[in-house]
């Protein structure tokens, strides 16, 4: 093997490493998020049912959120008393925005309320900016968890967020947890 070929293979290998690294970097870059300590008073999403409530904000066209809904289904297999609401953001200026696989995926999940948030009213109240943002409130309206249910962008599998919710529902510890969210943005950057 001549030196020229060795160099070529070496550079190819470097680019492969660089490409693989970039892939992981993109995969692990979270969306923007902020976490309220308590539920906003003006929201219509929380009812006083005496159960904790999990809100999950979804962009209906975000392909990464398919993994989030799959993780939600796994989480709900042993949920106990828990109100679950999936809120689809729906800008009024786009027709048929809700139609698609993700909507169909959501409405097939049993014992879950699927709601539509036209013009991001509720999303703004809860200060959520990224699809796949889940917020868990206890019975009193205190925020227990805020973050995503997937470990990386569109990647199925256990995540710290879903593990915490599962643990909290079983143990009701005093701890709260915030995790990263991976998904499409609800709003354009101002």
């Amino acid at each position: 093997m001549n030196t020229q070929l060795k160099l070529l293979i070496f550079f190819w290998f470097l680019i492969v490493i660089f490409g693989t690294g970039s892939m992981f970097l993109y995969s692990l870059t979270p969306g923007k998020s902020s976490a309220l300590e308590r539920a906003p008073g003006s929201t219509k999403l929380l009812e006083n049912t005496g159960n904790p409530t999990l809100l999950l904000f979804i962009h209906p066209q975000c392909s990464c959120s398919k993994a989030t809904l799959k993780e939600l289904v796994k989480l709900l297999e042993e949920r106990g008393p828990l109100e679950v609401k999936i809120i689809f953001i729906n800008p009024s200026n786009v027709e048929n925005f809700l139609d698609g696989e993700i909507w169909n995926q959501a409405i097939r999940i049993p014992d879950v309320d699927v709601l539509v948030d036209t013009n991001h009213v509720e999303a703004k109240l809860f200060k959520v900016k990224t699809s796949g943002h889940a917020i868990l409130f206890d019975e009193s309206g205190k925020r227990v968890f805020s973050g995503g249910l997937t470990a990386s962008r569109g990647h199925e599998g256990t995540s710290s967020g879903s593990e915490f919710i599962r643990s909290w529902l079983q143990n009701r510890s005093e701890k709260t947890f915030i995790s990263k969210i991976f998904g499409c943005s609800f709003f354009k950057e101002e």
């Binding site: 470990a151 199925e156 256990t158």
Partner: protein, 466 residues
């Protein structure tokens, strides 16, 4: 303790040849696989994640770019290398790196689907086609390094949990090693098998070489033997010719003596008439004409004798008019036919035959002499006939006579050397045997015909020279 077999240099050479073929074949397989994988990852990304969204605005999803460009990069470089240098030993390692990274890419763009993890098992199995343990080691090392490094520093990207877990890395590695055991065993067995085949091929090669050497030696021996036989045959032919000539000498001397008598008488009469002054011009011219004709007859006899008795060892095959051969024979025999009232007929249509002229003349003289011996004292019709016939493949020289039928026990031995029915001192018993050899050397056949009412020999010569 079982000893490992040792292999010779040639066996390793054959083994390397087979391994090179296997590498080239596997390279071709991976060219198609890389094309297929590239197309597949693009298709998957377009179907699963065509767009990324910011509110209500969409743009092409980074996964699509990733599949097109990074997938392309992973495919095109190995494809060019494999097509340019098929069978090179480094190809397997390049393919290995690319293939394992393809697994990571596929898992990534399918959103970590459990099913896409099977790609790594398929990839390792495909890499096993190179029958090179080092490639399996490299592939496994990349997978293990990926699991350990990402497990330690980016656990979320590979296991989906924020805490690093060495045990999980070991579990994944264990499954890979589980597959490796079977792959390495298969590679070892196949390598031994190919080595075994190389041993067999080497043995076969040696055997073929020995056989070829033996065949060459035997061929040389055969050529020498054939040369000896031909020399002996020539000597026999010469002996037979001399013998025949010896026998003919007396008859020919008689044949020549008669014309010489005619010449002597004519010249005596001419001289007497001239001395007596009684010789007219017409009478002298008549006597001279007789002398000329008689000298012509003698010349014919001598020419025929010369043609038939020439040394024919170096004579080449050429097209000879049959008429010339017949004339050689007839010129020698015409007078004795006449003396015994034997009718000689010759049926010819100006045929030519490819042969050695002197040899075939000798065969014909032999047959005609035998025919003459058979009919000269026969109490019925006495005739000898030579007839030339042709079919698409052969020229037949048919020599027939009206003599008594040949007994059955003579027929079966007639071509045997030293077999003769003539009186002692009259025949060597080699005439027909040598005639047979001469005809066979011409690629022809001589046989005694059974299906005719008289005695007939058929000399069959190929119509065209070989």
């Amino acid at each position: 303790m079982k000893r490992r077999p040792s292999y010779s240099g040639r066996e390793w050479e054959i083994f390397e040849g087979h391994m090179d073929e296997i590498r080239q074949e596997t390279d071709r397989l991976f060219v198609w696989l890389f094309c297929f994988q590239w197309f597949t990852v693009i298709l998957i990304s377009v179907i699963l994640t065509p767009y990324t969204w910011v509110g209500s605005e969409s743009s092409v999803h980074p996964h699509v770019y990733l599949s097109v460009f990074f997938g392309g990069f992973l495919s095109i470089f190995p494809i060019i290398k494999l097509l340019r240098d098929p069978g090179k030993s480094e190809n397997g390692y390049i393919v290995c790196v690319s293939q394992i990274i393809y697994t990571i890419l596929l898992i990534h763009i399918t959103g970590g689907r459990v099913e896409s993890h099977f790609h790594v098992f398929g990839s390792l199995t495909f890499l096993g086609c190179y029958r090179n343990k080092k490639i399996i080691y490299l592939g496994t090392a990349i997978i293990v390094a990926d699991h350990i490094l990402r497990g330690l520093f980016l656990p979320m990207s590979i296991y989906g949990v924020p805490e690093s877990s060495l045990w999980r890395a070991l579990e994944h590695t264990g499954w890979i090693l589980f597959l490796d055991i079977f792959l390495l065993m298969a590679i070892r067995n196949q390598t031994h098998l190919i080595l075994h085949i190389a041993q067999r091929e080497n043995a076969l090669e040696r055997s073929v070489a020995n056989t070829e050497k033996m065949v060459k030696e035997r061929t040389i021996e055969l050529v020498e033997t054939r040369k000896t036989i031909l020399d002996q045959q020539q000597k026999l032919l010469k002996a037979e010719r001399l013998s025949s000539l010896g026998q003919m000498a007396a008859e020919i001397a008689h044949e020549i003596n008669n014309p010489m008598g005619i010449i002597a008488t004519s010249s005596y009469l001419m001289r007497a008439k001239i001395e007596d002054g009684e010789a007219s011009k017409e009478e002298l011219l008549d006597s001279l004409s007789d002398i000329d004709a008689t000298v012509g007859r003698v010349s014919n006899i001598i020419r025929g004798l010369k043609n038939v008795s020439r040394n024919a060892a170096d004579e080449s095959v050429r097209a000879v008019p049959m008429k010339e051969i017949i004339n050689d024979v007839v010129s020698i025999s015409a007078d004795k036919f006449k003396a015994h009232s034997i009718a000689f007929t010759y049926v010819d249509k100006s045929h030519e035959v490819y042969c050695r002229r002197v040899q075939i003349s000798q065969v014909l003289l032999n047959l005609v002499t035998n025919a003459y011996d058979a009919v000269k004292d026969f109490q019925g019709d006495r005739w000898i006939r030579i007839e030339i016939k042709q079919d698409p493949k052969w020229t037949h020289i048919l020599v027939s006579n009206s003599g008594p039928a040949i007994p059955e026990d003579t027929k079966v031995r007639i071509f045997q050397p030293f077999f003769t029915t003539k009186e002692i001192g009259k025949g060597t018993g080699l005439g027909l045997s040598l005639s047979q050899s001469i005809v066979e050397n011409h690629g022809g056949v001589i046989e005694l015909k059974d299906n005719v009412a008289f005695t007939q020999f058929d000399v069959r010569l190929p119509k065209f020279a070989a």
